[in-house]
Subunit: 277 residues, 6 copies
């Protein structure tokens, strides 16, 4: 889930960032009319994310390039898989190459990291979700990569749901008052989430009718109690310090969502290369 | 090394990406005239990179905020260190918070990862360098973070040096011919690097008078031979599959530079929080 | 509710649209160092919306202008009320004048039109809401003007809630299937609304657990039945052909929201002038 | 009269305003490869303005859409008329739909409102003209809509003619001095208009050789006298408080132009829908 | 005559063009906290144009710089004159220096070249005017420089007056028909000029009531006849192949305007330097 | 050497600068469906530079235009040569004409001026180079024009090489210290140049191992001594007050590069016209 039209604007900026004045190597070494055929290869097993974006990098730079996308976002591929083929002006392909690789390597990295967490909670009722802890400039694409890895998206941005945190609660004099204040002007299709640090806030949040209750850094035991207390009347998100080693017991408490920034902030890029076809 | 003026334009885009229509939480929950005082805290030991950028995120969003930067890029700080203080309109601080944290967490992560590699080769004559494998949109800032961690920068972009690779050599019919072709139009202050996959190319590159010879994926033994052959007459870069575990013997061969994408593509974000002061 | 930071970018574009090459009148007639003091006056009774935006138009064009805002958004003022005072370089004030007036006249017009509809349903449980039928380029500001007039906002944009319409239902083979499909990837804090053209769809929508049911162009009698059927288990929006003359009986059916495009698409600008103080 | 090239830039911004992160409904409900055929229908009689702009909204968002424009700007059509047909990726059509409708509904509204005033003065020598009181961001398109309705355009912007008003006259010490001052630096193809509040200024303006004399808020009797006085030696514009009910007697005084902001500031959008073909 | 607000946007782009990734010299050589005081000096006699623009280049790059402008646009200064002083962060001053000098050197060059032509026709009734033959991106500033040199501006751009040329006349079937066609939709404050290649077109143009008649590449003798024929009833512009050596006799024919592209297309930059104060 | 992709963004801005609101002449005089065939003609002998840019101006404005480029950058053509042909919508061709001509006239002017200097030093070992003294906004294109005329490019921008000048040397306490300071953080493929005002600095610069030594405003005799001293161990650039009349003896001293701003700052535009084919 990302918009191709606005992504094109990002792609244009990325290309110009790398090119600067001009690609000195290509302009001094390669003739204007030389052509070539190249393919992007997976140099390790990976989950695909952003292959259409990578294709689009080449296309934006030079609309005359012929591109064939050979895999789809969400696919799991083996080492050696051909991801896309590009054919045409050698100058254009080599100038755009690094930008296309950089974005796709990063997005596949996120998809793969997400999949590890998703697998770790497979079979439970919990779904893995992301956060707003994404790379500045890549919000929608990184959230898309999370989906490719099987995760669900939390807020897309600050206009996409309300999160009431401890300092809001303090200012308003309690969860009930805070929720009432938000409701007065909240757009009709926007949900409201409250962050609870202590178990005894969960009841008040529930009564206030919030859409999601976030349990922040609670013990597994307390999470279990919260799940029982809520008993399906609203959604529950577990958050804070989630690690791959500790996620399954949390998922087994019965919470609806588990959020972690690791999938976007600690995912290493995968290895993809562009080779002559 | 990054330009503050053009970084401001990036900051503006990051802010608008996160805010979208408006920050619903802040606008519904917090009064226009409420003020607050917050500080950014290191939640783990880290090397600082981008603290002025983080400060600038707040300042761009609301020039009336008072900001005190408490550390400098390149500093090594302990868990609990205060990185910056920001005071003023609570709405502005909370709206800009996530963007400021996201960029700084990422840059400090890169600085720290770089420092690990730099430490691993301490005492040798080799310097650790980066590559163009950076996050699209963050090129200069990530390269700056590499410096904060003690690394040196390779090309800033495609207009910043020429790299002759195997396919260029093939097209031109040899390294000598390729270098001659490039020299004809190369700007006066631009250096030229040739990628050598095999030891027997090093001599030709040396004779052609290139500024840097890159040894691509060579064995440590071959690197040693290359260093002996060149004997200080030009610079040598080791590249390809560098890992923290294997970097020291490479550095000890006497190469001038060792480049790795790991420092930009596999660095996890550090943990930084914004708390009420 | 609008973001001042991104509104500044709109203001810059508006100013340049009106100015083009330069303000020929001001540049040929008025000295660079002449100063003046002006005030914006309400030339008819109105509800204020966008006074800070109007102030900001002057401030963006010339940061050295001194501006005093005398009213607040949402205020109801009489003919003759002073809305803001601006003092400084006469050239700057006269060049920015028309842009400041144009936006504020339009926003106050929307606020006033909204208030008429809000008054018409006063005392009922229904709230007046807007739609995405806004002027291209002015989405957030027009929605803000609707709040100033006492209305509530529907979706801010296409990333702000899901609306399932008849053709989606047809494609998916029914409301239940459509809702399930959406749920699979819907971000956690996003609500889901279904458009029902016929009363017999309401039950299915309710069972599918949607957040809002829109009754599209239904008779008042059918709306009443829908309200009874739903019985508070979800929110109901009445939509389609709403007019000031017919809105009250609709509100009295017990629906939660009534949406109309009239408040944004048929509101005449109010009369505001800039006069020497 | 508008430039298609720069209008494309506006269209891009409008689309991104509505889409934000992405169109959640379309992305969750509609398959990437589903296609559809839709048509824009007039839901009331209207004068066409902006049909090529609406077509271009679809085309910019997705160049692969096939679009057939069935009417031309300036056409008067009946309820039920098909305005354009669009065929292709269902996702693209539905994402761009609202933006295309919003702009065209507004522009046709302006054209229709203009036509009412133009009709009211039919047969006289007066021509209806617009003002700079347009929606920020839509200047040229709204002026184009005025032409579609049979009106003529006044200044396109501040670089498009000089308007000498009372405060300029005061500063310069009279109309003659003001005109002389302007003439010194005025570009060669730019006209000069003077605003006269009182009949006794008309003679001086005439002698100063201005291109247009604006009679501001004068009585019909005074306008008649002004027309006689000028006797065809320059153009005369009547302005201020023009209403549909009072415009004809003004036109019959023999003035050349009558300007009103009502056609741009008080025109309601017309009703246009997009339906499956 | 230029707009400072939109000029700021140009300045930002110029700065980023020169800086690219960052100013390597300044960042590697000069400390962040070093300060300096510099002045711009005229290294030859010149007419000033763009000194406020040059000042603004420094100010945009670093608002904390203190700048004193010592001359005004239009001033004639001797070699050695101090044009502006700038004091503050040495890094900022040195990074912005070249951009500030480049623009001002060019604009003063144009002003000086213009003054030569203006002097050559001093005492006649003719005024020297420019054309649209300006450097792409610098239209308004170059036209401003023409004024600083004593010239008058022709059209600012394509929206600023109508020019009927031979191919328009051919298409419409004569000057009279062409003028009528233009008048139908021409904005009220826009003038109309007709290009006449032959003397026998002048009469028709005069009768058609155009605002300016351009005599294109006519002999001085024919120009004289045209002036007599027109006899003050409209304005006359002489154009085509004007040179400094041949301009005076043309001016003495009695034409109102003489236009030349030489002042913008063949003006050499003047020599200005930035030296430590 | 320039990047076509980022040049497209410049072209768009140039077009909008000239067009403003709209091309009034074309819109009032020429029918939407009229077509034409035109050709760009050389009205004097010239060296071609920017013909693809001129072609691209037409193509960006209207992708449906058919364009045939008849010459190549670097070609030397006679008066009367056809440079490109353009065929299609007459409105589009006439609207884009001036922008296409303006840029190409300027670039060919620079190429021709450069060629004069290059010819003057033909047969010597010196190469003519440019500087950063280019028109703001046209850096890469003007540098490209210099290549078309046979010159070589100096720095593309501030991120493209380091220049150590007298004030840097003063701050650091000597050339050796300055060079060491720069080396610490200089990117690997960036060269370093030192400006020497006096002969006795050349030895120190040589020892410090700089890549280029610039002899600033030295006498021919001193230059000769510097060449002997350096004896091929590094590159030497002669700079300062270079004129066409004095350049040959400088070239004959044996310097590697001679730089002058005259080729970009004092080149007159060539005469090119667009005529019906």
């Amino acid at each position: 889930m990302y918009d191709t039209f606005s992504t094109d604007r990002l792609i244009d900026q990325w290309l110009m960032e790398d090119i600067g004045g001009c690609d000195l190597t290509v302009q001094t070494m390669i003739g204007k009319h030389e052509t070539g055929a190249f393919q992007m290869n997976a140099r390790e097993p990976m989950i695909i994310a952003g292959v259409d974006v990578a294709a689009r990098v080449f296309q934006r730079y030079d609309p005359s390039l012929e591109i064939k996308v050979k895999v789809a976002d969400g696919d799991r591929v083996e080492k050696g898989a051909i991801l896309l083929e590009v054919r045409g002006a050698a100058r254009s392909i080599l100038t755009a190459e690094r930008t296309a690789l950089n974005i796709m390597q990063r997005l596949c990295g996120i998809a793969g990291e997400t999949a590890k967490y998703v697998n770790a909670i497979a079979g439970t009722s919990a779904r893995l979700i992301d956060s707003r802890k994404t790379t500045p400039g890549l919000r929608m694409l990184e959230k898309h990569a999370v989906s490719c890895g099987g995760g669900l998206n939390h807020r897309l941005g600050l206009d996409n749901g309300v999160m009431i945190k401890d300092n809001h609660i303090a200012v308003c004099g309690g969860i009930t008052a805070a929720v009432e204040r938000a409701r007065k002007t909240l757009p009709v299709l926007t949900k409201l989430e409250v962050e609870c640090d202590r178990l005894n806030q969960v009841g008040e949040a529930l009564k206030a009718g919030v859409d999601v209750i976030m349990l922040d850094n609670m013990s597994v035991a307390d999470m279990k109690k919260a799940v029982e207390l809520v008993n399906g009347r609203t959604r529950i998100e577990a958050s804070g310090g989630i690690r791959l080693e500790t996620i399954r017991p949390i998922a087994e408490t019965g919470v609806d969502y588990i959020s972690t920034s690791k999938i976007t902030q600690a995912a290493a890029a995968v290895d993809i290369g562009l080779d002559e076809a």
